[in-house]
Symmetry: C2
Subunit: 171 residues, 2 copies
């Protein structure tokens, strides 16, 4: 029941307490949960770059068009997939997306706030993050997760249940 409640109350947070830093032990708790996501044949092809350096954070707001609110956040977590570790071509996108969702739920479960900013499928953003972070060619960034202490508890998400999206036995 508690798990389900958490799944229904998570939502994007974009306002953070400036200067308040998440301890590395908590960052590792969050990333541990991301690493418990399912993956094709359990290959776990993910890698995580945690950006706390203010200069690198600023560079990120220059290469990502929708991440200006990173300024007050504690960290940017760039969730990547290693194409040398994935089960088959493009599987890294699926596996790392599940890991991002676990990460966002973990952030919510800890009373922190987070927001998923897309890098994939935008080739220009992927390239820019690879250059900025020095990622090897085989390590592809999927998502930028901005995380910090929320200024306020965000309101509940609007009702997203759409029964018309459920089809029985065939389309």
């Amino acid at each position: 029941m508690f798990l389900e409640a958490g799944l229904l109350t998570r939502r994007s947070v974009r306002q953070f307490e400036a200067g308040r830093k998440i301890p590395h032990s908590d960052i590792e708790d969050l990333l541990k949960i991301a690493m418990y996501a399912p993956s094709g044949c359990n290959r776990q092809p993910w890698e995580f770059v945690v950006v706390e350096d203010e200069k690198v954070k600023e560079k990120i707001t220059e290469i990502h068009p929708h991440a200006s609110f990173l300024k007050d956040a504690s960290a940017a977590i760039v969730v990547c997939g290693d194409t040398n570790q994935e089960l088959d071509e493009n599987f890294w996108v699926v596996d790392t997306s599940a890991a991002v969702e676990n990460l966002l739920l973990a952030i919510h479960g800890k009373g922190l706030g987070g927001c998923w900013c897309a890098i994939y499928p935008y080739e220009d953003r992927m390239k820019a993050f690879q250059n900025l972070l020095g990622l090897p060619e085989n390590v592809k960034p999927n998502a930028l997760v901005v995380v910090g202490y929320p200024v306020k508890t965000p309101p509940q998400p609007k009702d997203r249940f759409k029964p018309e999206k459920i089809h029985y036995n065939k389309w």
Copy 2:
């Protein structure tokens, strides 16, 4: 804390109580939670086909190479993305993968068992599911989620925490 505990104990379930059916009200609870996943600009491009018909289930085991255990499960839920609803090309893969992870966590939270069987990125499987379920050309199947009542509580997942996958500020 409870949310986090659920995230760390979910794992694939492939043995189900034969003949025991999940009520549709529970199926809808599960899919509601899937629909609370984040998506690019909140486009929610997902669609779900719930297969309970025994003949269609059998056909699925013929077109998917790793789903023979569907036989005893209550249902197969095919999670699809509508490319007419997605934010940008290939965004449906990301959004629906997050929805699949929410669905698996919801299944776990309800004491049911589920397993993610990949359809994407395999073109042949995608085509076969489109044909079998009568999906329109713009509706792409990402994953087959097999769900049912588990025969036994599966053991805890092995430790998946790999601190070497965490990089600070750059690769």
